[in-house]
Symmetry: C2
Subunit: 231 residues, 2 copies
DNA sequence: ACTGAAATTTAGCTTCAGCTAACATTATAA
DNA sequence: TTATAATGTTAGCTGAAGCTAAATTTCAGT
């Protein structure tokens, strides 16, 4: 099947806005970081920043990155809502694996209408969190503050639930998948070693895992309540 | 919501292939007809025909239209399968109205992967017909012969079920919708007048409707079995 | 404060899918 | 059969969104 490859879609305005939102912690997103996230040359990002500025989506100070305007933020929330609702559907109803879901959602979020999005939300029962536990912005653009943090910032003794793993390296995903370290699994933090950044965790079966600094940075967790609520 | 309009997607290779399939009854599709269907200039179609020929999707004889090659036909079936599966989902699960469904499916069918399509098919229980009663091509590209015909070709006395209404005129859709003449409704053909092309039908409540020639051409029906099977 | 490295921007080019206007061919109908 | 209408093609342009290479600005370490 699929003899004729679907034209690989070029990155759109929405992608840039989302990338700026994801990259700019609470400040400006750099040309380089956005370029990397979108797999595009820095020159292209530089060009796009001035276009986004004209559209009123970002504020751009030459040589100092771009940050979202209010309109830009609203647009980012709109896309994030789509994305997380679609991910929810793919995981819960179509049986997607956790590795594949992000890719497919990324493709779909450009095609669906707002009407589709709201109908999907209704179909899913207006979830407030996606299956990773990350909050879904409301239709009005309100986003509950993200409660996840990198595993390396966890405290010894804390019980945490993996909410997501930074995408990127497929080998890493496979490695973690094999060990059952996937979103949703609950871990107890045994040790956070400042000296080398290694984090030692214990999974639900009592098995211990030693995770080097790069891994401990890629794994995002939320503190796990003893009684689960708000899902 | 939706402050930033999503870039209106330009027509892709797939659209052309589908348009050729839809317009070429069993022969060649004309430049003009394809242009109309895609809302694009004849010149653009002319250009695209040579590109499609290079890609091996159509055979194109200058000044005499284009017809699909085997590869082209397979590609059209792949898209038609996507389209009808998506329509089924939108109608049956998201509560889309019959007017809106085609539009949304058209947007989505460009974004979804084959993987998504097959997972959706499974989710829907591998339907062989869409909610209009039109056959869904198999994953291998086999299409059951279409059983619908324009209402104007119905025979007096025949019982038929509306399978679809040619899209295009929104006023027509509204007019028919008001009278309950929507896909799925069953009609009895009272009279087909050759002289002026008017068709008189009777709906399930016994109400009679007189439909002029343009309408009788736009409404597609399938002969209705007394015992419904194969859905 | 200076210098080299890193990041950013600009200039100029490419491809895609569209367009209009001009030209060519085919079809119709007197 | 021949003129006119309809249809189809070509030429040349536009606007996205990308790229590389060259120029500019900022940053970091001596």
């Amino acid at each position: 099947m699929s003899e004729v490859p679907d034209v690989q879609p070029s990155v759109s305005v929405g992608d840039y806005v989302k990338a700026v939102w994801e990259t700019a912690g609470s400040g400006a997103a750099s040309t380089k970081d956005v370029a990397e996230r979108l797999s595009v040359s820095p020159a292209s990002v530089s060009n796009m920043f001035v276009r986004l500025q004209e559209m009123g989506l970002v504020r751009h100070e030459r040589y100092h990155g771009a940050s979202l305007t209010e309109r830009g933020r609203a647009e980012a929330m709109r896309l994030l809502r789509r994305h997380r609702l679609i991910e929810t559907f793919l995981l819960e109803h179509l049986g997607y694996s956790w590795q594949d879901v992000h890719r497919e959602a990324e493709r779909l979020e450009h095609a669906v209408s707002d009407d589709f999005t709201e109908r999907l939300a209704q179909y899913l029962g207006h979830p407030e969190h996606d299956p990773h536990g990350d909050p879904i912005p409301t239709a009005e653009g309100t986003l509950e503050p993200e409660q996840s943090k990198p595993l390396k910032d966890a405290r010894t003794g804390e019980r945490v639930r993996i909410s997501r793993v930074a995408q990127g390296d497929n080998a890493v995903l496979a490695y973690l998948g094999e060990r059952g370290l996937v979103p949703g699994s609950v871990l107890k933090v045994r040790e956070v070693r400042d000296v080398d950044g290694v984090v030692v965790v214990e999974d639900e079966s009592g098995e211990a895992h030693s995770l080097g600094e790069p891994l401990a940075r890629s794994i995002f967790v939320r503190a796990e309540q003893v009684s689960r609520t708000g899902r």
